[in-house]
């Protein structure tokens, strides 16, 4: 499982290019130029399908002429662009930047029966998410399972790198939904409002794990995935639920062979509160946000949230033989971290972990909020910084 020290990877999302977002828009010369520029820069063979001298490209067609197959192909090509971008930046593990998906919560919710959309809520700044109401028992749709399998197969076909699919986790899915069905079920059993909320949350989290995540994870494993990442940005938001969080991760990965790396992504939370329950978690690696509160140009341990880095010590205290993905890229800032500061952060983390081969490298979270030019530079420097760190430790 441990190929080398400081394995590099993205977390999941990369911004969808405007030409991928606006599939029903009329041809836009600016968007086409943008697609061609990046296509050339990244060496995307399929770029000619988007625009060409014969003016038969998918982005050159009038909106009315662009059929469902054309739109699907645009989305596929957007995925190839991201694969090439991550390869070009030099990452060891790649995926598709979630180009075929809408948003991390919304997409899985749409592929799960028992959920209806309630409306949008603000996440931060001008970012919003759709929140669903769970009105019935949650169960992933067969089409949903097939989508994730085919998405994995598509990426595998287009790269020689290790493919790391990512999925929104059961705790986050439940936490970001109104779990009406499960609360009501508890109320019907006689629980008061407070108890019904607790019971409802537990039941919903485990239902998402058993009946939504696990079938997808099993299919991905059967398809050949060697690393599967479950994203849990909501983890640690309720201290009292750290046990059910751990159980839900274990249930999601239930039945997966030991050769498959079971990865969990955590971000923007008080990670310490997950302990000691997390010690019983069967995941092999944790990819964690560390840089959000830090300076992009200077690294000093006292400038980084000590609370954040404390998780590294906790993994040691509980003797957890796991890999740690250190978030070295602030995904909320356009400022580009220097290779040196990334190297320093990694060496600091390696010292705390005690073994550089147990340290992986990643951004704090998905880079979907950053323009491609910024995301690419950040990832490039992340790879350069990792190479520097590797030299330092003689790997």
């Amino acid at each position: 499982m441990r190929e080398k020290a400081f394995i590099t990877q993205e977390i999941g999302s990369i911004q969808r290019p405007i030409w991928r977002q606006k599939l029903d828009a009329q041809p836009n010369p600016e968007w086409i130029a943008q697609a061609m520029d990046w296509g050339k820069r990244l060496g995307v063979d399929e770029a000619y399908e988007l625009a060409n001298g014969n003016k038969t490209g998918l982005l050159q067609k009038r909106a009315i002429e662009r059929g469902a197959e054309d739109k699907e192909r645009i989305i596929e090509i957007a995925s190839i662009y991201v694969i090439r971008m991550l390869e070009s930046a030099g990452l060891d593990r790649v995926f598709n930047g979630e180009q075929p998906r809408t948003e991390m919560y919304d997409f899985l919710a749409k592929n799960t029966s028992g959920i209806e959309t309630a409306g949008v809520l603000n996440s931060f700044d001008a970012n919003y998410f759709r929140k669903g109401i769970v009105n019935g028992k949650v169960m992933v749709k067969e089409d949903g399972i097939a989508f994730f399998e085919s998405e994995y197969n598509f990426v595998s076909k287009h790269t020689k790198k290790i493919v790391k699919p990512c999925l929104t986790g059961p705790y986050t899915m439940a936490d970001w939904s109104y779990i009406e069905h499960y609360r009501k079920a508890s109320e019907l059993r006689g629980a008061g409002p407070s108890q019904a909320l607790k019971d409802g949350r537990r039941d919903a989290i485990m239902a998402f794990a058993n009946d939504v995540l696990n079938p997808i994870v099993k299919r991905l494993s059967s398809a050949g995935a060697k690393v599967i990442q479950i994203d849990e940005p909501a983890a640690a938001t309720k201290e009292a639920e750290s046990e059910v969080f751990t159980q839900s991760i274990n249930a999601s990965f239930e039945g997966i062979p030991s050769g498959v790396e079971k990865a969990v992504h955590l971000c923007y939370s008080n990670y310490s509160s997950l302990f000691p329950a997390l010690a019983d978690c069967k995941a092999n690696s944790y990819l964690v946000e560390f840089t959000n509160h830090a300076s992009p140009t200077n690294f000093k341990p006292d400038q980084v949230s000590p609370e954040t880095f404390k998780i590294l010590e906790l993994f040691g205290e509980y003797s957890m033989d796991v890999d740690i993905g250190v978030g070295v890229i602030d995904i909320h800032s356009d400022l580009i971290e220097t290779p040196q500061v990334i190297c320093d952060r990694l060496l600091y983390a390696a010292k705390l972990v005690g073994d550089p081969t147990r340290v992986q490298v990643n951004p704090d979270c998905g880079l979907r909020t950053r323009r491609w030019v910024v995301a690419y530079e950040k990832l490039r420097n992340m790879v350069l910084g990792s190479e520097m760190a590797r030299k330092e430790v003689g790997d």
Partner: protein, 325 residues
């Protein structure tokens, strides 16, 4: 304290900012993506506000929703002196994106690097024109928990400094037509950094000169058991206290003050029926010890339910008021 014998309904009120409509969210995103105008987005905010104000019939105080604030710290971080401006662009200059407790929404965590300074108008400038208005501000405990403090030596001096700034802003806020300030203390309910606090300080700075006449001041504790939270403000000159009716043990509530009872669940999509609100209000009156005066409202901000649902919940509260009348 004797259990209340003659309850007096004082009206309904909101307990924090509310969400934006789907349409306004779309206008906001369009503006961010450079394919929409700022004016259109502001128009959406104004339309939401107008609908919100209309829904607050029979309310004791009217809220403009404060949906344009994004988070309760941002206007302060942008307007007051003493906050660091990060070497970055746009909203990112305010501070890092930080999770708002256990929700899927975030705020920008500002850093205090110097003494807080005010011109006395920052809050009034950030609030809409609302008659008989209620403004929502972070309470001193939550303010102290949510900012990064690199200037004040301890939490007590930070809370004092914050409340001095708030007090200096009150004349302009009152001039604007505001009749109530509700200080929100989510950090108590979320169990964050409660430390060894036995009392939340700073409220005395608002009395008697600033708010003693014609302005009601309350402190609300969403997601906390009121029985545990209310002692933190019992000795203060506050006019009323707010409790989360979903997470509180009514039988253990004991306060000399009027109470805002949060009976509508800000984390639930289902709309509470009139019968439910009436039953829960009656249960509070029968079990809690309090002054007798009571308001009703949501248990928390209605920021975590979509705008349409928030409006329906507000109408349910309004109907209770109509019935009591």
């Amino acid at each position: 304290m004797e259990k209340n014998k003659s309850p007096k309904y004082l009206g309904a009120m909101l307990a924090g900012p509310i969400s934006r409509s789907d349409k306004t969210a779309a206008l906001h995103r369009a503006f961010r993506d450079g394919i929409g105008m700022m004016e259109n987005f502001e128009g959406g905010i104004a339309r939401d506000r107008s609908e919100l104000i209309s829904a607050q019939e029979n309310f004791a105080f009217i809220s403009g929703g404060q949906a344009d604030w994004l988070d309760l710290l941002r206007p302060l971080a942008k307007g007051l002196g003493g906050f660091e401006r990060r070497q970055s662009a746009g909203e990112d200059a305010i501070g890092p994106v930080t999770r708002w407790f256990r929700t899927n929404s975030f705020y920008r965590k500002p850093t205090i690097i110097e003494k807080l300074q005010t011109n006395g108008r920052e809050l009034a400038n950030a609030l809409p024109d609302v008659k008989n208005g209620v403004a929502f501000l972070l309470g001193p405990h939550s303010f102290g928990s949510l900012v990064e403090n690199k200037h004040y030596g301890d939490r007590h001096s930070l809370m004092d400094a914050y409340m001095e700034v708030v007090a200096a802003n009150m004349p302009a806020v009152m001039d604007k037509g505001y009749k109530c300030i509700l200080f929100l203390e989510p950090s108590v309910g979320y169990g964050m950094s409660t430390g060894a606090f036995t009392k939340i300080e700073g409220y005395e700075k608002l009395y008697p000169g600033v708010c003693g006449k014609g302005m009601k001041i309350g402190s609300h504790f969403p997601l906390a058991d009121g029985a545990k939270a209310l002692p933190l403000v019992e000795g203060t000159p506050l006019d009323f206290v707010g409790i989360d009716g979903i997470h509180s043990d009514f039988g253990k509530i004991s306060t000399s003050k009027d109470v805002l009872i949060g009976l509508v669940d800000g984390a639930r999509a289902g709309i509470e029926s009139g019968a439910h609100i009436e039953k829960e209000a009656a249960r509070f009156i029968a079990n809690a010890k309090f002054s007798g005066g009571y308001y009703i409202g949501p248990n928390d901000r209605l920021f975590d339910v979509p705008f349409g649902i928030a409006i329906e919940k507000i109408r349910a509260l309004s109907q209770y008021g109509e019935k009591i009348k």
